[in-house]
């Protein structure tokens, strides 16, 4: 019975790399060290699989499916390639090659989660560090608009609030923990200070903090429902910390203000670096969405929303982002890789996907695979295939292969190579 040690978990942006997975008869039977999400996903990995390639719901051979996919992509004027956050970097690179070949638009799921973060980083730059540095050094940790207790279960114990590190051997008691959110989440119990901000009021609060850190007074009694005293005290605490870190999530990137919120947060962190060391790290959800951005950047110069229609890459979120392209009815064919946009995108965009010929590459059945004209099963990266993924702090980590994929099922990168060959003819 093979037991794999130091397995990397491919289920969220933490990419915990200390799991122990036992495989018996090509089936995962035991998982150690994983959080509840991870354990359940590993143990149920064999369920709900796409078994055979499908064309219009009828089973087909891989060759037929690849041929049909290539035909669809070749004849499209505005093909869209989307997803990519739950596959490995090799597949992402292939997807970009294909996008260039067909003169299409390539976008990844960052456009609906941390796209605004990237926009802000491009405007202002970023002060960052690895999660290991946070673990070893941070004595002030702020969670803004994110709830790791529900989304990144081991974040607190492995990397942040509760973790014991080199200069934080006392763990939780060596750190001051702040949580900022629009409603009281379970983080309230973890935090020393819970700041409840009026929905849609993050931008104002961040601006006020920035002004105070810069040494201005505050002429108002409260900002976004937060009393002045709390703001003054928090600013002081930030300046006095030895090493501060802000983790932020969709509560900040997808609420009113979006990329401007992040600009304000980056600005705050930049200003704090005049006083002490401070960093900002986005809580990335899908395990390799950071990789999708990284690979797209190193290949095209841009992190997401890249249009190849004129032969060279162009970048403009809002114009070339999948949601916008679909909602405006622009995309006339789509290739979805390792993602379920029908379940997650706004109705109008999802409906468009059902109207146009859509090709779906996924190990599992999903709402998107149900509407797919062509569906091709894939080997799951990190379980049935090797590859590289990027952790939320931008650290590349090698994923392991633990078992064989079902017969005849190939990894994303290989299927994409076949489609590329077919398109090139």
């Amino acid at each position: 019975m093979p037991v794999y040690r130091s397995v990397v978990c491919p289920f969220c942006g933490c990419l915990c790399d200390d799991l122990e997975v036992t495989v018996e008869d090509n089936r995962i039977v035991k998982v150690r060290n994983g959080c509840a999400i991870s354990t359940s996903k590993f143990l149920h990995h064999h369920e709900n699989r796409v078994e055979k390639p499908l064309i219009d719901g009828e089973s087909a051979t891989l060759e037929e499916a690849v041929k049909e996919a290539a035909e669809i992509l070749k004849s499209a004027r505005r093909p869209l390639i989307y997803g990519l956050s739950s596959t490995e970097c090799g597949a992402i690179a292939k997807a970009i090659e294909l996008a260039e070949l067909i003169g299409g638009v390539i976008d990844n799921t960052a456009s609906v989660c941390h796209g605004p973060t990237i926009l802000a980083l491009q405007t202002l730059g970023e002060s960052k560090c690895t999660l290991g540095t946070v673990r070893n050094r941070a004595d002030l940790i702020i969670y803004w608009g994110c709830n790791p207790l529900e989304a990144h279960l081991r974040h607190l114990t492995r990397y942040s609030a509760m973790a014991r590190g080199l200069y934080t051997s006392g763990g939780r008691k060596d750190r001051y923990v702040v949580a900022v959110d629009v409603r009281e989440t379970r983080m309230k119990r973890v935090a020393d200070l819970f700041v409840k901000v009026k929905p849609g009021g993050d931008y104002e609060l961040l601006s006020a903090l920035r002004a105070v850190v810069r040494g201005y007074g505050l002429d108002v009694d409260e900002v976004s429902g937060v009393p002045r005293d709390v703001i003054l005290e928090l600013a002081e605490r930030m300046k006095k910390s030895r090493f501060g870190a802000i983790f932020f999530g969709l509560g900040l990137t997808q609420s009113e203000g979006r990329h401007m919120n992040i600009e304000a947060a980056i600005g705050l962190v930049a200003d704090l670096n005049h006083h002490t060391k401070f960093v900002l790290i986005p809580m990335r959800g899908h395990y390799n969405v950071a990789g999708a951005n990284t690979v797209t950047t190193w290949q095209t110069g841009y992190p997401y929303a890249v249009d190849f229609s004129r032969g060279y890459p162009r970048y403009n979120p809002g114009e070339y982002t999948a949601v916008d392209l679909l909602s405006r009815g622009e995309a006339d064919a789509a290739l979805i890789i390792a993602s379920d946009p029908v379940a997650h995108l706004p109705y109008k965009a999802a409906r468009r996907l059902a109207e146009i010929p859509t090709i779906v590459l996924d190990p599992k059945r999903s709402m998107t695979s149900m509407i797919g004209r062509v569906v091709i099963p894939t080997a799951a990266a990190g379980i049935e295939a090797e590859g590289t993924a990027y952790r939320m702090d931008g650290i590349p980590i090698r994923l392991k292969k633990l078992m064989e994929p079902p017969e005849g099922v190939l990894p994303d990168a290989e299927i994409l190579s076949l489609i590329i060959e077919e398109v090139m003819g």
Partner: protein, 281 residues
Amino acid sequence: MMELRLKPKVSGLSIPLEAEVISPDVVAGKTLREVEELRVYHGNRVETLSEYFEVEGEVAPNPEEQLIIVEGDVSWVKYIGAEMTAGKVIVKGDAGMHLGSRMTGGEIIVEGSVGDWAGAEMAGGLIRIRGDAGDLLGAAYRGSPEGMRGGCIFVEGSAGYETGTGMRRGLIVIGGDAAPFTGAHMNGGVIFILGRAAKRLGAQMKGNGSLIICLGEVEELLPTFVYDTTYTPTFMRIYLKTLSEKLGIKRAEEYIGRAFRRYRGDRAVGGDGEILVVERG
């Protein structure tokens, strides 16, 4: 001016057409035949202008004398008048994204509304929009530090999010309402808002004489803008007269002699820009 007319052959294309060739600079000096053959981009296909437009009229020897009239709704056409330096374009309906982006001279009149990024990073000339403008009017493109660097944009209707982001010089006049983050990152230039100004006006505005003038109601100012005085600036008279005489905004004159509340900011970035809000009553 010599008039060239483009009559759309199709309507409401779902895949937009990129036609930066609809510009006096490109057209001038060509034959009608050559104009028909100009390249446009539809998705990943390269096609000719004549597949989408009937081309009639006269071509001028140089852009200064060239007038292009687009007869109909072209909300599906991007980049009309982009990078133009002289001459005039009139669109008799709506226009798509990037209209007049990076233009440095000449004039564009749109009788309908325009998509996002109109006048983005423009450096000179005049854009007049009779309808509404989309988001990022006169803004900086992503990753670029400066938006509008000169010229004038006048929208008679409302303007979308982040109008005038990163503006460095020039004038934007919004006849209707302004959406949130108007004048964000402004570092020079002037924005007039005649309708209602939504919140987060002038967010992260730096200074350099940046000025936002609100003649209508203001939803809310950021806590990092600080009130300093109420006064009746003399320069306002000249500005308002210019709006009335040069742009035909007669109602601007009603505000001559009125007092304004002055706010400075954005302190979040140590900025020293100004927002002037007209005193009610």
